[in-house]
């Protein structure tokens, strides 16, 4: 039983990448640090367990990144996906510091992959963790423990006692027993609220019941809600989230990346009323995969069905659960409980609209439809070669955008605009400062690492002053 009666220098709430980067950074400056992780050891690490890479600025090729990726390009990429919903100063702070993020993680024992053959062709902009996020989480915990950080698993922080922007103590449930943890500073790195279905229902109603939560079920938003209620300034649209199209048969929680379906560009996608609703071939999949979750969330019953044929099977990554296979469109419709006449007509209309062209699954090939609404702008091939293939789809929610406002030193800003005395935040709980909407692959881990380090260092310095 660890001594919880002591006054720690820094309490870190959460147990993912952002939390561990904060804990390690604070400890390196000599602070006594305790980490309160809600999950048990086997499920530790929050959504970081499911991640794979981080996006890093680099002026030239490194051992893990190719070519170069400079501030302006990075900023342009961010601007494009957020459509301006970002804080330029914070964003540029993060982008500049991202150059040193891989080095910091390497010092913490994280191993990066030399290069990548894999899924999204991101080896220029993103550094990949060998073995993925869980390997990163393992390395960070080992480093934290080696440095003398106290790790408490199965420890849910239920309330932060804050008075006039000054944190005093945390009310926690430690292995089911109530405790108080006193600390001179607190770093909130407890993630978003996407796994809190009741909270999601406030904005999405019954549709929220059909959202699959891709990541940790521990993202309940307890600390986020508590801080916002306690006078911390809010950022981000509470109704916004990052979502992809998942296999409809996935577990409702913690299914992770492998549940994602990549078949969309090589299929047509209909909703349960057998209507197409968006251009499946609008752009390359790495640039479009993140909008499809939301598109499906807006369809009736949050359901969609990708329809393709045997020609396309090798063009996308295999799905974990085998697709439906049928010798006719009618039979496929029956498997999905869709109106068969309607589906036959949708496929026939689509086939009739497909223009001749040379298919190339690797790039925008211009194989498109003519006179179809919505159009399919690339990779449009006739669906005519049995067996016909169908993938059932549902939205998979990655994270929410609602967060707490922070300064460029990761210090939390109170509702009255004043900085908090000893409260800091890092990771998804404050990502909404920079990501107002949209997403850049690997940017969540960048924000977590950069602001985790900042929060940990500032929290430790705060104690010293």
């Amino acid at each position: 039983m660890p001594d919880l009666s002591q006054v720690f220098d820094v309490l870190v709430v959460g147990g993912g990448n952002a939390a561990l980067c904060a804990a390690i950074s604070a400890r390196k400056l000599g602070a006594t640090v305790v980490v309160a992780e809600h999950a048990p050891k086997s499920m530790r690490g929050g959504n970081s367990r499911h991640t794979r890479n981080l996006r890093a600025l680099h002026p030239g090729p490194t051992d893990v990144l190719t070519e170069k990726y400079l501030e302006e390009e990075y900023w342009d990429d961010l601007l494009r996906v957020t459509k301006g919903k970002t804080d330029e100063h914070l964003a540029r702070t993060c982008i500049r510091a991202s150059q040193h993020a891989p080095g910091f993680l390497k010092e913490c024992g994280v191993v990066f992959q030399p290069s990548l053959s894999g899924t999204l062709s991101l080896s220029r902009t993103n550094a990949f963790f060998l073995g993925g996020g869980k390997a990163l989480v393992n390395a960070l915990y080992r480093t934290a423990e080696r440095l003398g950080v106290l790790i408490l698993y199965d420890t849910e922080v239920q309330h932060l006692e804050v008075e006039d922007g000054f944190f005093k103590e945390a009310i926690v449930s430690y292995r089911g027993f109530p405790h108080r943890i006193r600390a001179k500073s607190v770093v909130a790195s407890a993630g978003g609220f996407q796994a809190n279905r009741a909270w999601m229902r406030e904005y999405w109603g019954d549709a929220a019941d059909n959202f699959q939560i891709r990541g940790t079920p521990y993202a309940q938003g307890t600390v986020l809600k508590d801080m916002l209620a306690g006078g911390v300034q809010q950022v981000g649209d509470p109704t916004q989230f990052h979502a992809v199209c998942n296999d409809a048969r996935s577990p409702m929680e913690d299914g992770g990346l492998a549940m994602r379906l990549d078949c969309t560009p090589f299929s047509i996608v209909v909703n349960k009323n057998v209507e197409r609703f968006y251009d499946e071939g609008e752009d390359t999949w790495p640039k479009r995969y993140a909008i499809w979750g939301r598109l499906i969330a807006q369809q009736p019953d949050q359901r969609a069905f990708a329809i393709t044929d045997s020609k396309a099977v090798m063009n996308y990554l295999p799905s974990v659960f085998p697709p439906m296979r049928a010798n006719s469109i009618r039979e496929l419709a029956g498997m999905f409980g869709l109106d068969a006449d309607k589906l036959e007509k949708v496929v026939a209309d689509y086939n009739a609209a497909v223009q001749p062209g040379t298919f190339n699954g690797q790039e925008l090939d211009g194989c498109r439809t003519q006179g179809l609404e919505p159009p399919k702008s690339n990779w449009a091939r006739k669906i005519d070669t049995p067996p016909f293939i169908g993938h059932p789809m549902m939205p998979g929610i990655t994270f929410t955008f609602l967060g707490v406002k922070v300064s460029d030193k990761a210090r939390v800003i109170m509702a009255d605009g004043k900085p908090a005395a000893n409260i800091f935040a890092s990771g998804e709980i404050m990502a909404g400062n920079i990501l107002g909407q949209g997403y850049l692959a690997g940017f969540g881990m960048t924000i977590g690492t950069v602001f985790g380090r900042l929060a940990g260092e500032e929290a430790a310095r705060n104690v010293r002053n």
């Binding site: 053959s117 899924t119 073995g131 393992n138 990346l257 295999p318």
Partner: protein, 371 residues
């Protein structure tokens, strides 16, 4: 996918369907690049991938779907079971395949019988005065155990084992559905993989030998054991040349080539056995196949005894204890030779073939996912 497929094979196939959509482990070892060449996994494919697995456990400790996640993915454990089933299936003569069901007992029994046989034969053939006497000079060993007996037993058992291994290799190669392809380049690549144990390198930082931290204990221990074994084999080969062609009879001087090779080889084997045993004892018990531990420990014990008695023999070969110890040592060597195709030792053969096949497929097959 036959109806008689084992539970481990079906379970591992379920894992691979998740792995093939996840692919976070692609940087770890040869299994994952081989996996991405496929969309569907036949029984033979599963055996191939299982034999390609070196049990480094990197994929288990980094798996976002490892137990207690509902998917419960644990490839190292299932692959170990499938490997053992493949040893059983492809053993020759087929009736002897069942020795892999209770391999710990069988290997221990053979070792005990080997010692007993050597002692009984020696005692039956030799006068007690000879057996317990101190002997020196060329031919000292043959005074205790006649040359013809040594050659008959060692040559006979080793010859049979080599035959059984060869037939087993052919059966495995055909049974797992290997397809034709280039020979030289894949063979060279597989040889380098074996000699360097590249797949136990984890890209330089090592494997998850005992827990989620990285180490190279297992790689170095296995290298010590493997090269020690090869040195001992070289020692025996050189001694055979000395005896047959140069007509120089054992025992040889301490600084002679056979004794030097054998001494260093034996010492390396001891180091390797101790290292591997230690890793096996302290490792995380989840990503292993516990029911196979008996056979693994029995083989490690046999290798330990072979090298320890060999070294001890060198130390006391001038005394009256030499006779009995020589019999014990040769009995253990006999047991090792006999169990080559019927113990964990056989993993080297199938691992080698799997590495060769993987190196070949890399050149002949195209990755299933275009992106």
């Amino acid at each position: 996918m036959s109806a008689t497929e084992s539970e481990a094979t079906q379970e591992a196939r379920r894992y691979l369907e998740v792995c093939n959509a996840c692919r976070y482990c692609e940087g770890y070892c040869a299994v994952f690049p081989a996996m991405t060449l496929r969309r569907e996994f036949s029984t033979g494919d599963m055996q191939h991938l299982a034999n390609l697995c070196h049990s480094c456990k990197g994929c288990y400790h980094s798996c976002q779907y490892a137990p207690p996640h509902a998917f419960g993915i644990n490839l190292p454990s299932s692959f170990a079971s499938i490997r053992n089933e493949s040893y059983e299936q492809y053993a020759w003569p087929p009736a002897l395949g069942s020795v892999f069901k209770r391999n710990g007992t069988i290997v221990s029994l053979v070792a005990a019988l080997g010692i007993a046989l050597a002692l009984i034969l020696t005692a039956a053939i030799q006068d007690p005065g000879v057996l317990y006497g101190a002997h020196a000079g060329p031919g000292a060993f043959y005074k205790v155990i006649p040359w013809w007996l040594m050659v008959t037993l060692a040559g006979g058992s080793l010859g049979f084992s080599v035959l059984a291994l060869t037939v087993g290799a052919v059966r495995y190669w055909r049974g797992t559905g290997s397809k034709p392809g280039p020979v030289m380049a894949p063979a060279a690549e597989a040889t380098v993989d074996i000699l360097t144990l590249r797949n136990l390198g984890g890209g330089g930082h090592g494997c998850n030998d005992t827990d989620e931290g990285f180490s190279t204990h297992r790689r170095w221990s296995h290298q010590a054991l493997m090269y020690g074994f090869l040195l001992c084999f070289a020692s025996t080969s050189v001694a055979t040349i000395y005896d047959h062609f140069l007509h120089l009879e054992a025992p040889y001087a301490f600084l002679s080539i056979p004794v030097q090779l054998g001494t260093w080889g034996g010492a390396l084997m001891l180091l390797g056995v101790i290292g591997l045993t230690w890793v096996k004892l302290v490792t995380d018990p989840v990503p292993v196949a516990k029911h196979l531990a008996g056979g693994e420990f029995a083989l490690l014990a046999l290798l330990f005894l072979v090298s320890a008695t060999g070294l001890l023999l060198l130390a006391i070969r001038h005394t009256g204890a030499m006779g009995v110890l020589l019999a014990i040592h040769l009995g253990l060597v006999l047991a090792l030779f006999i169990t080559l195709p019927y113990s964990k030792m056989v993993h080297g053969l199938y691992r080698g073939l799997a590495l060769y096949r993987a190196a070949r497929e890399k050149r002949t097959m195209v990755a299933a996912a275009a992106d």
